[in-house]
């Protein structure tokens, strides 16, 4: 009797109220029932060629039609989505960068899709899965791509200057000194005070946990011991003058990369893209290696970038949307198209085997993806908090100052910690000590 009513009632009506625990109860019977009506879903994303992937789905699922809408990526897209959600008119599906997801959740803009996500749980590694659960019982999105970090280096210039590929950060520091001695115009690398995402990735590698949930309270530890150790390391290099301080993605940085004045870039798997456009002259001269480790013999790395596909809390077709999101990010055909058309690094573990052709910029590194997968096997992420934007902004201000003045990086970390906690306290979040 009850089942009957559920199936007959418009799916949407039942699902709108379904959240966390509730969704599980209603999802089981609804899954077996055929969709009562044709559904049209809008999907905001910035993956090139997404319409081709969507076309495959639309052909196979006439009752659930998806419309892909291309957005400007990054912070702009996040702001736009939050605004649309607040105005009560968000898209059904949204590409959400991992660090933006908690602010979506905190604004009650995305739905818990645990029921739909549970069957594909084992398709993803522990690290990326934590990014969509935020360490809670809920699941706020299906991971799409990830940005595990590795070390990009100029193989040719390493030979010229007689440098070994550094396996530990200690060796990296030594190499930085050697380079400066051999050619004062060249730096081994640069510390960017404008890219908190990169810094967060390096902190993850060191074993940091900036945010965590304990009971009903948030624990914030931006200046925890691993991060402080990592920050002090870079601060020491900056103070010593053996590492440059020009920010990434500036015209100066592009020029230095192109002219061979910068020999390494600790970056993520998506680096071939920026390298190809910023340093075309150096094509074929770069190689990859694991990120230098804190202790010899370890194999850890962090994530810089990456995103999940989330379902809007205000969507009338949450279940259909979740179904599409899981298909998009776990189905072999969809993953293959995402790799081919969108040049993404799939978050699903089986997705990596689809990466066969190396990026054009690395065409003479035929095993680029194999190396990348090996390098990033030990990737660890952390839970992002509800005000990453505040912490990231504080990072830029504090580390701008610290690099310009060559002052203590540990103190700069304390500034970020204080700004982050102050903002959360002001908003009324429970903060655990």
């Amino acid at each position: 009797m009850r089942m009957n009513r559920l199936a007959a009632a418009a799916l949407a009506a039942a699902l709108v109220t379904g959240c966390s625990g509730g969704a599980q109860d209603t999802a089981a019977p609804a899954d077996t029932a055929a969709p009562a009506e044709n559904v049209r879903l809008t999907f905001w994303n910035w993956v090139p060629g997404m319409d081709k992937v969507v076309a495959v789905w639309n052909k196979a699922n006439p009752s659930i039609q998806v419309v892909s809408s291309t957005q400007a990526g990054g912070d702009d897209a996040a702001t736009k989505f939050l605004t649309a959600a607040k105005a009560g008119n968000p898209p059904d599906l949204m590409q959400a960068e991992y660090q933006a997801l908690p602010s979506f959740v905190a604004a009650d803009a995305v739905a818990d899709i645990k029921a739909a996500a549970e069957p594909v749980r084992q398709e993803f590694g522990e690290g990326v899965w934590g990014l969509v659960t935020l360490g809670t019982e809920a699941v706020y999105g299906i991971p799409q791509d990830s940005g595990p970090m590795m070390l990009y280096y100029r193989a040719d210039l390493f030979d010229t200057y007689g440098i070994e590929v550094p396996r530990t950060w200690q060796e990296y520091a030594e190499a930085a000194r050697t380079v400066r001695k051999k050619d004062p115009k060249v730096f081994l690398g640069t510390f960017s005070s404008k890219d908190p995402g990169s810094f967060a990735g390096l902190a993850q590698q060191a074993g940091a946990q900036w945010w965590s949930i304990s009971g009903e309270a948030w624990k914030v530890a931006v200046n925890d011991e691993p991060t402080t150790k990592m920050a002090d390391f870079w601060g020491g290099l900056v103070k010593e003058g053996v590492i440059d301080t020009m920010p990434y993605f500036t015209p100066e940085w592009n020029k230095a990369l192109n002219d061979g004045k910068l020999l390494t870039w600790p970056s993520a798997v998506w680096a071939p893209g920026p390298l190809a456009s910023n340093a075309p002259k150096a094509k074929g001269k770069w190689a990859i290696a694991p990120l230098p480790q804190w202790n010899a013999g370890e194999n850890h790395t962090g994530f810089w970038g990456g995103s999940a596909v989330a379902v809007a809390a205000a969507s009338k077709h949450q279940q259909a949307a979740a179904k599409f999101a899981t298909w998009l990010n776990t189905d072999p055909e969809a993953l293959g198209l995402l790799v081919k058309e969108g040049a993404i690094y799939p978050a699903a573990t089986k997705g990596t085997s689809l990466l066969t052709e190396p990026p054009a910029y690395f065409s003479d590194v035929p095993d680029f993806w194999k190396q990348a997968a090996a390098n990033t096997a030990g990737a660890r992420g952390f839970t992002f908090g509800p005000n990453v934007n505040v912490a990231y902004n504080a990072y830029k201000d504090a580390f701008d100052k610290a690099t310009a003045d060559k002052s203590s990086f540990a103190d700069a970390l304390v500034e970020i910690q204080d700004a982050t906690v102050a903002d959360m306290t002001k908003s009324g979040f429970q903060i655990a000590q």
């Binding site: 908690p102 818990d112 809920a138 005070s193 934007n389 701008d400 310009a404 979040f429």
Partner: protein, 305 residues
Amino acid sequence: MSARAAHATRTRRRGGLVPYLFLAPAMILFALFMVVPIGYTVHLSLHRTKVSGLGLGKGARKEVFVGLDNYVAAVGDGELWAGWLRVLGYGALVLVVMLGLALLFALMLDTARVRLARFARIAIFLPFAVPGVAAGLMWGFLYLPSLSPFHELFGADLLSRTTVVYSMANIAVWGGTGFNMLVLYTNLRAVPQSLYEAARIDGASELQIALRVKIPILAPAIILTTVFSVIATVQVFTEPSTLRPLSNTISSTWSPLMKVYRDAFVTGDLYSAAATAIVIAGVSLVLSFGFLRVVRDRAFGEAQA
């Protein structure tokens, strides 16, 4: 009141409606795009979101009335006052150099002997036509140590902590001089030539004419351009924002308006941003009206009569 008198009043009233009808479209637009947004800003500035617990999930976040808390926070924020100080230093530089140059150019172009006056006028005015962001980017590239031709010339980092304010002022002067020059120059052209002829017959040199005749005549225009420039300086935003990604000496709260932008669009705190915006509007009003009050007699010649 007699019937006649009442009738007259009514007629006058009916006649009085017509201008309002003509005004209506403007008033409606004014209400829609000025009064309502300002009202909403005031509303926002008196509120704040409060979350409960972890702040995750449904209904964890709601808007609460907090009275003047946001204003207290805005006024008590050391960063905001540090921003005002920076803008004050920057503004003093810009005002003196830009208006000085504008006046000089206007006077020079107004002397009959200048050749290529039309070309010079356009050349000086042209930078004003360049959008602020484009100008900021262009100068930013010129300042960047590894790309800059000036870097070799001056042997100094033009984006360092001590020099960045001059670099920024330079962009504003480059962009603003032409506009102010044009305002002053146009005012000069409106002066009857007979005045200068009289001065010349009295034996005044061109320099004396400039100092004793032209500049006094220009006083109201100079005051007007100063007020415009003061308002523009208080709202300085474009130059530091475009230079910020290129340098690590410009914080996200370098100028007061940048703090508003950061609060509203970077950290998502519309409520603080609204309060700070209103404080800035207040300071802007006090400065421009204060200045006008001080120089009112010269500006409008009221006391001369």
